[in-house]
């Protein structure tokens, strides 16, 4: 890879909790328009890496370069403003708002106190909300209270809430958990579309799904990178087989 293509560069990233190193001197580079899958056993530090990138957890040491800026010094909303979106493991949506309102509230306008006071629902917002809703297969449910959506639909909605902000890097923590086969297929297709003009990091357990989407796979174990490469090369890696893919 050449330097110009790198969107996210993580170097020597370390975070320790009470002596326990959840992420240990990690180096990770994600290119523009790349879809990267991160896999690894529970407790390998996958979610913690996402937490570190999006500012939810502060690093003990190391740097996270995103578009020439060091994210470790920024707060969560600043990181979002730079173009990083994050979906949580369990879908985090506003249950008592409608799908429309969920998307609207995520629309990047009126983000300041004053802005939100004078915010009006204009036609361009309506159009954009519909557009995104269509993309995440929820255009028929715009007025449904989000609480009533199925688990998979909630996952989509959260992805939609990121999409509407047009981030350059999207991080998805287990996006297909709880989805039906058909929903998984749809999600795979959605991710394929999404990463056409942005980079995506996906944490997933479902190997088949990872295989179907990822350009490149990173395997994590005990806070470190165990292997990196194509799905095939990773699957043949001895160490990986030992800790993870044994079966």
């Amino acid at each position: 890879m050449t330097n110009t293509e790198v969107l996210l560069a993580i170097e020597d990233l370390t975070v320790s909790f009470d002596g326990f190193k959840a992420v240990d001197a990690l180096n990770l580079y994600v290119n523009k328009y790349e879809l990267r899958a991160v896999i690894g056993p529970n407790g390998a530090g996958k979610t913690t890496v996402l937490d570190l990138i999006c500012g939810r957890t502060k690093a003990t040491a190391g740097r996270i370069q995103f578009k020439e800026k060091d994210l470790t010094k920024l707060s969560e909303h600043q990181i979002v403003h730079l173009g990083v979106g994050r979906k949580f493991q369990t879908p985090s949506i506003y249950g008592n708002l409608t799908v429309f309102e969920n998307l609207e509230i995520s629309f990047p306008r009126g983000r300041t106190v004053l802005g939100s006071l004078v915010f009006r629902r204009t036609q361009d917002i309506r159009d954009r909300v519909r557009e995104v809703a269509k993309e995440i297969f929820l255009d028929a449910h715009l007025d449904m209270e989000a609480e009533l959506l199925s688990h998979g639909q909630k996952q989509w909605l959260e992805i939609g809430m990121l999409l509407i902000q047009e981030p350059e890097l999207m991080m998805l923590d287990e996006p297909v958990a709880g989805m039906s086969v058909k929903e998984r297929e749809q999600t795979a297709e959605l991710l394929g579309r999404i990463c056409r003009n942005r980079s995506v990091i996906v944490i997933e357990h479902d190997m088949e799904f990872v295989k179907s989407i990822a350009h490149k796979v990173t395997v994590m174990h005990q806070g470190k990178i165990l292997a990196e490469g194509t799905m095939e090369s990773v699957q043949e890696n001895e160490k990986v087989i030992e800790v993870y893919l044994g079966h």
Binding site: F17, D18, D51
Partner: protein, 307 residues
């Protein structure tokens, strides 16, 4: 401080150190019960001060009983008053948990409001039962006066007693929490309520007992406080904010934190008071506590854990 001999200054230093320690004991006694209730269970019990008052009135009542009817017992009633103070506060705490608190575990801030109401009710009950006047228990002679290790040093007996009791009580709480089966259940429940049920612990019963024990400890604190302060219907409200600050400052879930925080707040307060006026000392101490909480929102003694 010219004009004083070295030994005089030394004595003052010793006595000042002792005042700081007494204050530490006061704070710790107040906070121990709350550290269990708030720290372990997350219940904000604004009526905690009233459980303290309960213990104090128990002592007063016992002392009156002894003075009026059994003068021979005046010298020895006090330990029994402490035990009875514990039992009464424990019983009332148990009742409160059953009637009120258990319905509110999911709404911690609402327990604050409801228990505030409880504290109002209890204050009025005290007032109706014991009158609005402040009362004072007649203390046994062995609790009055001071020991004089040197000519210039006076160490108050009640302070010593309080320290001894604080030590014993802290040890008991420690044993209760860390060395008993019961404590094991409490800690398991605090860590993971669902899983505790899954290994066979009756978490509701644990809650009830934990809350009651916390209240009982407040009762003991109240009984002990009769040696240094008065008892009135509103006595408890004097302590409540300080108590919460001690617990919050130390880090709600950590018993060691509570001890450390009681110690540092007491020392700060006591030293500042010696050099400044009491009011300013109090203001400065509170401000420091707030600033520290700002810097460490989870309190002094918390472990950074993975989210």
């Amino acid at each position: 401080m010219g004009g004083y001999t070295f030994s005089e200054l030394g004595s003052i230093f010793v006595m000042q150190g002792f005042s700081g320690l007494s204050l530490f004991c006061v704070y710790l006694l107040m906070a121990l019960g709350l550290a269990i209730i708030f720290g372990q269970m997350g219940v904000i019990n604004m009526a905690h001060g009233e459980f303290l008052t309960m213990g104090a009135y128990t002592t007063y009542f016992m002392s009156k009983l002894a003075v009026d009817h059994f003068p021979a017992l005046v010298g020895i009633y006090f330990p029994f008053a402490i035990i009875l103070g514990f039992l009464i506060a424990f019983g009332m705490g148990y009742l409160l948990e059953v009637l009120l608190i258990r319905h509110l575990y999911k709404r911690p801030l609402d327990t604050l409001l409801a228990t505030w109401g409880v504290s109002l009710v209890l204050q009025q009950v005290f007032r109706s039962a014991f009158g609005a006047r402040e009362v004072s228990a007649t203390l046994p002679a062995w609790l009055l006066g001071s020991v004089k290790p040197t000519e210039t040093i006076d160490i108050p007996l009640n302070g010593l007693f309080m320290m001894g009791l604080t030590l014993v009580l802290s040890l008991l709480v420690f044993i209760f929490l860390f060395r008993s089966r019961w404590g094991l259940k409490v800690r398991a429940t605090t860590q993971n309520r669902v899983m505790s049920g899954g290994v066979g612990i009756n978490t509701k019963k644990v809650d009830r007992m934990t809350f009651a024990v916390g209240c009982g400890i407040a009762g003991v604190a109240g009984a002990v406080f009769t040696t240094i302060a008065s008892t009135g219907p509103t006595t408890g409200s004097l302590y409540i904010v300080d108590t919460f600050l001690v617990v919050v400052f130390g880090g709600a879930a950590s018993l060691v934190g509570t001890v450390a925080s009681a110690f540092s707040i007491a020392q700060a307060q006591s030293v500042l008071e010696f050099f400044l006026t009491s009011s300013i000392a109090k203001v400065l101490t509170l401000l420091t506590v707030i600033t520290v909480i700002m810097a460490r929102p989870e309190g002094l003694f918390t472990i950074r854990v993975r989210k």
